[in-house]
Symmetry: C2
Subunit: 338 residues, 2 copies
């Protein structure tokens, strides 16, 4: 067993707590497990597999005896702790945005580019939530018909801004219904009964950082810089699960029936698509699940080789925790088979 | 004065009440005004320009002495009353979906195709709310660079489903926050903190009736069946104002700066576009206004001749009442100049 001593960095956060739950549920193999967090959360007691654990402060020496950590922290925290871990021979699977576009760091969605894991130098990145569900949905179509262009408009939940984002939606919605003022902390504009067409700061020619992640990360994951992506990222008053209206143009034409069958046959995708009976994925129904949900699959009316569809996934799970744990499983299994 | 005796059919509805307000505000010329509604609402007292009016039941003979009516009613009501009015020499401006695609009926957005009014045979239709704001935004780019293709994903408010839709969002949001069950009446799925990627019934190859309106009506308004439109219509938990993520491909390339200037110069469009300072149109800020708001204007990253932008408009005003009143003004002015 190469990765005997594992850890979670950011164990007390929204994604960290789902990572803990997934390691339990999926019976992840390990000998010891350590929960790390910032000084502020160190000392917190957590129960894992019926045993109480005390959260340890994330210091360089905290990584001394660890073989593998999954990190879900802000970018600046990941920038700090990853080198500490790597120097001590501990492999890092990082959920943050900080290392993703580093040329030495594989960026992995196990359903799409598992082979990239062999090139890791101690650090493996997991993509941004809005990218992950999109590339999973793209993969079966790309394998069959080569995707050349993607036009995507997102409908992103407040949980993407953490526990504070979820709380702001709930609290400000109640204030709005009661006709009370609300003092915003997380979002730049009111989110209750409103839409905010900006996620992240300005990044490139009128596009936001969130939008450019969808461009750059998609190309890196597919290993194909010729894939063109035009994204629009919008925050919506939904608590959890990101939704995306996606149009792909493929080199080879696909019928809606062919695209549907490709989605159905792909592990990690669940198709819900019966418009006549009002069946399609919606955020409320997808929350708490690991799959990427696809529906409203149809031929583009504006281009011969286009397929339009609607894609929903739990951004805290497949968009974050689940993908990171799947990378850890991939790492453990590839070490076991070497 | 050709149109001395005017009326509003559906005067007590959500759009009808805004039509009344606009006729007051805009000082619409008339000698007598009559408010018509279904049997259920007949007898209701309304105040207009400081005078009390009793709502009249919509019967064939109610149109005997009217020259012009603006109707905002369900499709089946419009199907019934329009012939009664026309037979009696009363011109109808109809907000409903029933007559829009009739070949003998001009479908008008005054900023786009005012000239079509000269062909009317007693009935003029106003487009669907999601179409109207889109074609207004398209018009300056189309005039300058000819739009060949539109990809649009909508974020549509519950007011599009009338007063009942607005109430259902408010009541079900409160129930959700209180952990109470809610008995839905208007929407097929929960709308509180959720998204419903279906508006209207199945219509054409996996597209809904709402989506196909955006295809057919756009072509009819521009008088160009070669314009390709790929729409995705989604109901969002927003009370009022529809938003749209739009990508247009033009025959002639446009820079983002050129597109922005074209939008700025166009009457009926207000540009709010300063990403660095977090300024763009949002539903809460646009409600109650007549303009079509445009922001997030940028070059498509996936096609040389593409412009992406974000468009918000009050679906009860420009999407319905305002456009109908503007058509009435166009009619009155063209009669005055003949």
């Amino acid at each position: 067993m190469v990765y005997e001593n594992i850890g979670i960095v950011g164990a007390t956060g929204a994604v960290g707590s789902i990572i803990r739950q997934l390691l339990e549920e999926r019976n992840f193999p390990y000998k010891t497990i350590t929960f790390l967090a910032s000084k502020r959360s160190a000392g917190t007691k957590l129960t894992f597999r019926g045993e109480e654990h005390t959260v340890v402060e994330m210091t360089p020496d905290a990584f001394n005896d660890l073989d593998l950590v999954i990190g879900s922290t802000p970018d600046e925290t990941a920038q700090e702790f990853a080198p500490w871990a790597i120097e001590r021979g501990c492999v890092v699977i990082d959920e943050s945005g900080y290392w993703r576009m580093d040329k030495t760091v594989p960026l992995i969605v196990p359903e799409v580019n598992p082979e990239a894991i062999k090139d890791h130098k101690g650090l493996i990145a997991s993509p941004n939530c809005s990218t992950t569900q999109m590339v999973v949905a793209m993969q079966p179509l790309h394998a069959a018909a080569k995707i050349r262009r993607v036009i995507v408009s997102t409908y992103q939940a407040t949980s993407g801004a953490g526990v504070a984002g979820q709380a702001e939606l709930t609290d400000s919605s109640r204030a709005s219904l009661d006709g009370q003022a609300y003092d915003r902390k997380t979002f730049a504009h009111p989110i209750a009964f409103n839409l905010i067409p900006q996620i992240g700061g300005p990044k490139h020619e009128g596009y936001t950082s969130e939008e450019m992640k969808m461009v750059y990360e998609t190309r890196k994951i597919f290993g194909d810089d010729s894939i063109l992506v035009c994204p629009t990222c919008v925050r919506v008053p939904v608590t959890n699960c990101h939704s995306e209206s996606i149009l792909v143009e493929t080199e080879k034409p696909l019928s809606a029936a062919e695209a549907t069958q490709l989605f159905r046959d792909f592990p990690g995708i669940t198709v819900i698509d019966d418009l006549a009976n009002g069946q399609y994925p919606m955020p409320l129904g997808c929350t708490g699940n690991d799959d990427v949900y696809v529906g409203r699959i149809r031929k583009d009316l504006s281009c011969e080789n286009g397929i339009a569809f609607w894609c929903v996934s739990d951004n805290l799970r497949k968009g974050a925790a689940t993908n990171a744990v799947q990378i850890a499983e991939l790492l453990v299994n590839s070490a076991a088979t070497v």
